[in-house]
């Protein structure tokens, strides 16, 4: 074990060692992060503390002893955990420590202000068969907010001691120590999770050792929810045969349920927590809480939620990103900075000092590194993406995104997804490549494929979105047609994919974090962080694009590719020059969008009809190279080629149909 000794204060000369006996009983402090666990630990242990890495991990665990309890008892401050079902390394370590046969008492430390969200873990700990003491910490903050908790009644209902504490002032610590000297009796409280789940728990528990430190019921519940760590323990304890039998019970149970066992258990814990706290917890209704509740309802109820989404899209995307970012800012940088000053100066510098024409073309030609690569990234992409990330950071910091996920959950189910898919789809508006990576967090293969198709086909990235909004903002009709066509294709494709692809529909559930007022510092930091990340990625790519185009021009390959795309462009009613934007678009979507912008600023801009058709086709067009490669890695070559082929055909077919319909209506 990699030991790092940390001394807090001087070691008392009378104490020969700060280490308790190797077989000393353990008192564990367990709880969510940021509930004052460590402060309480410090109050219990004072200066007698060791911090060491848990064996085989880099997770630090603090342990020591309490002078009032003597060396016979070891106090352990476990890493933060939200549930007995571990997700992170820290939670796995906490779970392992909890499984130790040496555990005498578990102190569950909760933030008294948020007891309703944390009592679920208390119930899990009680069911684990350990003596539990509930420490309602941060009581001073709860009192300030007017929150009252009848801890005696709660104690009676839970069947365990409930002690209000304030770790900073040591309030309640003496009472806590008293309960550590004599461990409390076990509570008989159990949380009913429904007939099927309960039967499965009973069936699994029969295969578990009744003498295990954690109660068989709790272990069975964890196995049913797919706890891999518990599965490993089962194999070690009973062998592969027993594990296989248990897994068969788990599989059979899952087949009978509409949702995952974890969903039912979580719901039961929440429901039971609410019932236990009814009459024990009194929270005054303050004006900010009232407002938060009203806003919550507005965000998540379809009648008000969807209009709110439309408002957010209008002001956030159309006005700020499209008009201000892609319009005002881009025009300023393009015309006042690059075209008026920077590019003429640079061209004259290159012409004066570089005799070799190909090198001049590479740097300052039509597709030069400076004249195109740098100009695209700074004059066009930077203001658009910057505004997008600013809007996104504001929404993110406000806590709106989880509510959006809840709102669209029902609608998403019709296209084979659920609310969780909001994460990759919203991220896709920033960058589809990253969003495609994030699809791996979706539960089923079916969802991952459907979401990947939608990202490849119909979710424009921020730069593409911003340029198109900027170009079409002058005509409400063109914008409406573009948005309507793209949205319809997205929903139709999703619906079709959901019908054709086999698989189950998983449930989406999550605990909503509170709504909060975005802080300027947070928003600016997040925007800046994303901008740094984005530019580190695109600047080399844009420069590379210029180099590749330069090579393509020298070898005439570029001209050949443009020439071969011309029939497609003419079929859509687009000018031949628009082939460049599409070719760019395959390299980088944002590069293609910038190409479209350039075309509009040229001597022969497209008509509104052509612009609408180009916008629709380019939005639905092939994913960029980076996204293509990520798709290939995430979904496999076969699925990627199918998706890409389908997207290509769809993009040009829809583009052609848009062109035909617009011609018929005389636009």
């Amino acid at each position: 074990m990699n030991k790092i000794l940390k001394m807090i204060g001087a070691v008392n000369a009378g104490e020969s060692s700060i280490e308790p006996r190797a077989d000393a009983p353990l008192v564990l402090l367990v709880g969510n992060p940021n509930v004052g666990k460590s402060a309480l630990f410090n109050k219990l242990t004072g200066q007698y503390v060791t911090v060491s890495n848990y064996p085989g991990t880099t997770v630090e665990v603090s342990h020591g002893h309490c002078p009032q309890l003597g060396h016979d008892v070891e106090i352990v401050d476990t890493p933060g955990m939200y549930s007995l079902l571990p997700i992170t390394d820290e939670e796995r370590v906490a779970s392992d420590i909890l499984s130790s046969p040496r555990v005498r008492v578990v102190i569950h430390v909760v933030d008294a202000k948020n007891i309703d969200r944390m009592l679920g873990l208390t119930l899990q700990l009680i069911e684990s068969g350990r003596p539990v003491v509930l420490a309602l910490n941060m009581m001073d903050e709860a009192r300030t907010l007017g929150i009252q908790i009848d801890h005696e009644e709660l104690s009676r209902r839970l069947g365990i001691p409930v002690i209000p504490t304030v770790s900073l002032t040591s309030e309640g610590v003496a009472d806590l120590i008293r309960h550590l000297k004599t461990p409390p009796p076990l509570s008989m409280l159990r949380v009913e999770c429904g007939t099927l789940i309960e039967q499965a728990i009973l069936d699994i528990a029969r295969h578990l050792s009744p003498a295990s430190p954690i109660a068989p019921r709790a272990r069975a519940s964890l196995l049913l929810q797919g706890d891999l760590r518990e599965r490993e323990r089962l194999v070690q304890e009973k062998g592969e045969q027993a594990a296989a039998t248990v897994l068969a019970i788990v599989a059979a149970t899952r087949a009978k349920l509409n949702h995952s066992p974890h969903y039912y258990v979580t719901l039961a814990l929440r429901t039971h927590s609410g019932q236990l706290l009814g009459g024990c917890l009194s929270t005054p209704t303050r004006a900010p809480d009232k407002i938060r509740r009203i806003l919550d309802r507005i965000c998540t109820t379809p009648l008000t939620g969807y209009p709110l989404v439309a408002l957010v899209l209008y002001f956030g995307l159309f006005v700020l990103v499209g008009q201000f970012g892609a319009g005002t800012c881009v025009n300023f940088l393009e015309e006042k900075v690059f075209q008026s000053h920077l590019l003429p100066w640079f061209s004259s510098l290159v012409n004066a000092h570089i005799p070799w024409q190909p090198l001049r073309d590479l740097l300052a030609g039509d597709y030069g590194i400076i004249t195109l690569g740098l100009r695209y990234s700074i004059a066009i992409i930077f203001p658009i993406v910057g505004m997008f990330f600013l809007v996104f950071a504001t929404l993110e910091d406000s806590g709106y995104l989880p509510r959006l996920a809840l709102l669209v959950d029902r609608g998403f189910k019709r296209i084979g997804l659920n609310g969780r898919a909001v994460i990759p789809i919203v991220l896709g508006f920033g960058c589809d490549t990253m969003a495609t990576l994030v699809t791996r967090t979706l539960e089923t293969k079916r969802e991952r494929i459907i979401c990947t198709i939608m990202l490849a086909l119909a979710i424009p990235c921020s730069a593409q979105l911003g340029v198109i909004l900027g170009l079409l903002s002058g005509s409400g009709a063109a914008l409406a047609i573009w948005a309507g066509v793209v949205l319809s294709i997205m929903l139709l494709t999703g619906w079709l994919a959901a019908k054709l692809l086999p698989g189950e529909q998983p449930m989406f559930y999550m605990e909503l974090p509170p709504l909060r007022l975005p802080t300027l510092m947070n928003v600016l930091v997040k925007t800046y962080t994303r901008m740094v990340w984005y530019f580190r990625e695109i600047l080399p790519m844009f420069i590379l694009a210029s180099v590749l185009i330069w090579v393509g021009q020298i070898t005439h390959l570029f001209q050949i590719m443009i020439h071969n795309m011309k029939p497609l462009m003419r079929g859509l009613g687009l000018p031949d020059e628009s082939a460049v934007a599409f070719l760019f678009g395959f390299f980088r979507r944002d590069y293609g969008a910038a190409g479209l912008y350039d075309l509009q600023k040229s001597a022969h801009p497209m008509t509104l009809h052509q612009l609408t058709v180009a916008a629709v086709t380019l939005t639905l067009f092939l994913p960029c190279i980076a996204q293509f490669l990520v798709m290939q890695k995430e979904r496999g070559t076969k699925v990627t080629l199918w998706i890409s082929g389908g997207v290509f055909v769809t993009a040009f077919t829809v583009g052609y149909l848009t062109h035909v319909v617009l011609t018929m209506v005389g636009m």
Binding site: Y82, I423, M434, V630
Partner: protein
């Protein structure tokens, strides 16, 4: 760090399970929440230094 989506806390300095098998091998500078999968870019060192510079001195760290 706190996940901006689900507001759960996790240690961003540790390579989470989600990074294993990713094409970038964990070197993409993004941080993925192990609870909800939400991805956000890691704060640049310059921002961390600025925050540390402006952090009020002598204030005890909230437990």
């Amino acid at each position: 760090m706190l996940c901006p989506f689900c507001q759960r806390e996790f240690d961003e300095t540790k390579l989470p399970e989600a990074c294993k098998g990713c094409p970038s091998g964990g070197g993409c500078n993004n941080v993925r929440c192990p609870y909800c999968g939400y991805e956000t870019p890691r704060e640049p060192a310059s921002v961390k230094k600025l925050k540390a510079f402006f952090k009020p001195k002598g204030r005890e760290k909230k437990p």
